[in-house]
């Protein structure tokens, strides 16, 4: 506001400044002044234009982040959409798929590198294999264009009618590559929630208590140790945390708790908790320090001790912020891919035992996307899982952003 009013002032100043000398020139005292006047006029106009241009360009670029969100929304859903189209549309889309596959089959052949490292070692594109895969695919599309056949699949690529894929979505079997592929995502969803719960039970108390310590009790020196450490932890790549969990923590925890499977949701949950600690800590600490100092002083003045103030005055006032911190922590764990891939065992089992292996939604995408055929039902289902993840984190963030912030502001302002 301050700046804009300044600009307005400057605008009017400028205009008067340019007008005044021109009047003098009309009176006609010297040609030198006249030339100067022309000079000022040109530069003046030129600057205005570049300023205008700069503002428009900057504004345009600033919209990029919104555009990206919209594009992500659109393209992730676009690839997931064919599952929901009816059988007639399926024939139409499969036609398209053949074309797309033609264009992109090289990408598919690049990927099996992961599966058979020995075979493709050194030679990335194996053309004979490519031919094979492509052949299989066309066979499949011709079969699938027959809508009466529900479970028609040819061995190998796991092609399936889209309608039956929808029917199997809400079951617990995740068997995407088989004679009779089933895309039951229930086990994956429950596995994801299980691991999220474990990681939150581990990370939330730890991070919140540490944040309380940092915001309320710590002296300056401790603060200067804790905060940078947390920032460094936030900078740890998740693949490094995953590696640590897989190589060191899994063995260590197994020795303590004596469970059977070495990689399970417990190990994965703890590792993801480590990844979520910085987020929860930072937001909680921000919320705690945002509580006005007068609360603190008033409470101490009435005779409450420091810890009473911290737990009965500051903490309740900052609850919405802590709630937001936990929500964003959940969002982080929910979409965590590398730790889930490396430390959870990756077996889609539907139970509530924390010492069994799980497979999360994100890990499923990460593990299988590289090996599917573009346009396959399996491919679409993976994108559908991606859309689920996207919607879920989007909603979590929106709640944290709007609801919580409004509440926090109200509480702090004492309304």
């Amino acid at each position: 506001m301050f700046i804009s009013s300044l600009i307005d002032q400057r605008k009017s100043n400028n205009s008067t400044m340019t007008r005044e000398p021109s009047k003098e020139n009309i009176v006609g005292k010297s040609t030198v002044e006249n030339r100067e006047q022309v000079h000022i006029d040109i530069t003046h106009k030129k600057f205005r234009f570049s300023d205008y241009l700069a503002e428009k360009v900057i504004k345009g670029v600033a919209f990029l982040s919104i555009t990206i969100i919209v594009l992500i929304f659109f393209f992730v859903f676009r690839e997931a959409f064919p599952i929901f189209s009816s059988s007639k549309e399926v024939t139409a889309t499969t036609g398209k798929i053949v074309q797309e596959a033609q264009e992109t089959y090289g990408a598919v052949t690049d990927q099996p590198v992961k599966e058979e490292p020995q075979e493709t070692y050194g030679a990335v594109t194996d053309s004979s294999q490519a031919q094979e895969q492509y052949g299989v695919q066309t066979n499949d599309t011709s079969i699938t264009s027959d809508p009466s056949d529900t479970y028609t699949v040819s061995a190998g690529s796991g092609f399936d009618d889209n309608q039956s894929a929808i029917n199997t979505l809400l079951t617990k079997d995740w068997v995407p590559v088989s004679e009779k592929p089933r895309y039951g995502i229930l086990a994956l969803i429950i596995g994801t929630f299980k691991i999220t719960l474990i990681s939150m039970l581990f990370a939330a108390p730890l991070a919140i208590l540490a944040a309380i310590y940092t915001a309320m009790f710590a002296n300056k020196k401790m603060k200067e140790i804790i905060k940078p450490t947390i920032e460094l932890l936030a900078g740890f790549p998740s693949v490094v945390i995953g590696f640590f969990a897989l190589m060191v923590m899994a063995t260590f925890l197994q020795e303590i708790f004596h469970y059977e499977t070495r990689l399970n949701s417990f190990v994965g949950g703890i590792a993801m908790g480590i990844a979520a600690i910085p987020i929860i800590f930072t937001i909680t600490e921000d919320a705690l320090t945002a509580v006005p100092k007068s609360y603190f002083e008033a409470s101490l003045a009435i005779g409450a001790s420091k810890w009473q103030t911290a737990f009965f005055v500051i903490l309740p006032a900052a609850t919405p912020g802590i709630f937001a911190a936990i929500l964003l922590g959940i969002g982080r764990v929910f979409g965590e891919t590398m730790i889930a891939l490396m430390a959870t065992g990756n077996a889609a089992m539907m139970d509530l035992n924390p010492f069994n292996s799980v497979r999360t939604l994100a890990a499923t995408i990460g593990a299988e996307m590289a090996e599917v055929v573009f346009g396959d039902t399996h491919y679409n289902v993976l994108f559908l899982i991606g859309s689920l993840l996207f919607i879920f984190t989007f909603i979590l963030n929106a709640i944290a952003e709007f609801y919580v912030k409004g509440k926090l502001m109200k509480r702090i302002q004492g309304k």
């Binding site: 300044l6 400057r10 670029v61 208590l209 009790f217 932890l233 590696f243 190589m247 810890w307 984190t393």
Partner: protein, 301 residues
């Protein structure tokens, strides 16, 4: 008397609990650092850093992975830093704090920051490779497969979307530390708004832009999920160009630990690679943290 004593004990215990939680977190960080550095330090040598993998990935160095990582973060920074900086300039200099546009952009930036990285991978595949790539192929290459497949360029651009919020947030923070008096003074002297930004505000916040870039590079070097299917490869015999698949440190760790046939045999290499990646991000982050604390100090002064 007893009551007061109880109260004090309670206070000490509760404060102790919070202190212990803070110490546990610090301990976790230190343990992770030491375990990985001790495990990998024997592996670290000039040869390890500069040679290609040999003997079916069980021996040799990680040079292609380092090269790929550096290449990736360079292209990523070229894409992310200018756009991030400009967005931050718009948010702090042009948009009014309460306007709907500014609020929407802020919300979008925060959403970008919390979207799981794997979603960026999906987006990179769906948008860059399958949409842009295939379009480019059909227009310029007559449908021949050139850009419509995973490669370094698409992976870098995907990664730049992921690191965009990091840049925006850091630069915004730095722009806010430039005193209003400087802007006002510049405008009062007759400079236009753009001149003020270009000559006064941006030079004053160069350290913030640096911090943002460093943090973005560190994030980009460590993330694996977005490049899983937009360009990372298990092994490439030659150094990649922009249009090739590439090796990258994080993916190298992932593949060696989970996809390789002889995990135990490659254990030293795994620790070595993790150590290199961790030290790389650690040093970058440390620099960013120090820079950032300087900026914050400047602000409080």
């Amino acid at each position: 008397m007893i009551n007061k004593f109880n109260k004090n004990v309670k206070g000490v215990v509760i404060e102790g609990i919070t202190l212990v939680s803070a110490l546990i977190i610090i301990a976790i960080v230190i343990i992770m650092l030491t375990v990985i550095i001790i495990g990998g330090k024997d592996q670290l040598s000039w040869e390890f850093l500069t040679s290609f993998p040999t003997d079916g990935m069980t021996k040799g160095g990680i040079f292609p992975a380092i090269y790929g990582t550096v290449f990736l973060v360079i292209i990523m920074s070229i894409a992310a830093v200018p756009f991030g900086t400009i967005t931050a300039i718009y948010l702090t200099e042009y948009a009014k704090e309460e306007s709907i546009i500014a609020k929407t952009i802020r919300f979008a930036v925060r959403t970008l920051a919390v979207i799981p990285s794997i979603i960026y991978g999906l987006f990179g595949l769906g948008f860059f490779i399958k949409f842009v790539g295939t379009k480019v192929d059909s227009i310029f290459y007559g449908g021949a497969l050139t850009w419509g497949q995973p490669n370094l360029l698409w992976a870098s651009l995907t990664m730049s979307l992921l690191t965009l919020p990091v840049v925006i947030v850091s630069v915004e923070e730095a722009l806010k530390t430039v005193p209003q008096e400087l802007r006002a003074g510049s405008l009062a002297l007759g400079a236009t708004k753009w001149q003020t930004i270009w000559k006064i505000v941006l030079p004053g916040s160069i350290s913030g832009i640096m911090t943002g870039t460093i943090l973005a590079v560190s994030r980009g070097a460590g993330e694996v999920a977005p490049i899983l299917f937009t360009g990372a490869a298990y092994y490439i015999a030659t150094l990649p160009g922009v249009g090739d698949q590439f090796m990258v440190l994080g993916y190298h760790i992932y593949v060696l630990t989970t996809q390789s046939a002889n995990v135990d045999q490659t254990l030293p290499i795994q620790f070595g690679t993790t150590c290199v990646l961790l030290l790389l991000t650690f040093i970058l982050n440390l620099t960013a943290v120090i820079l950032r604390y300087r900026i914050r100090k400047k602000k409080t002064n």
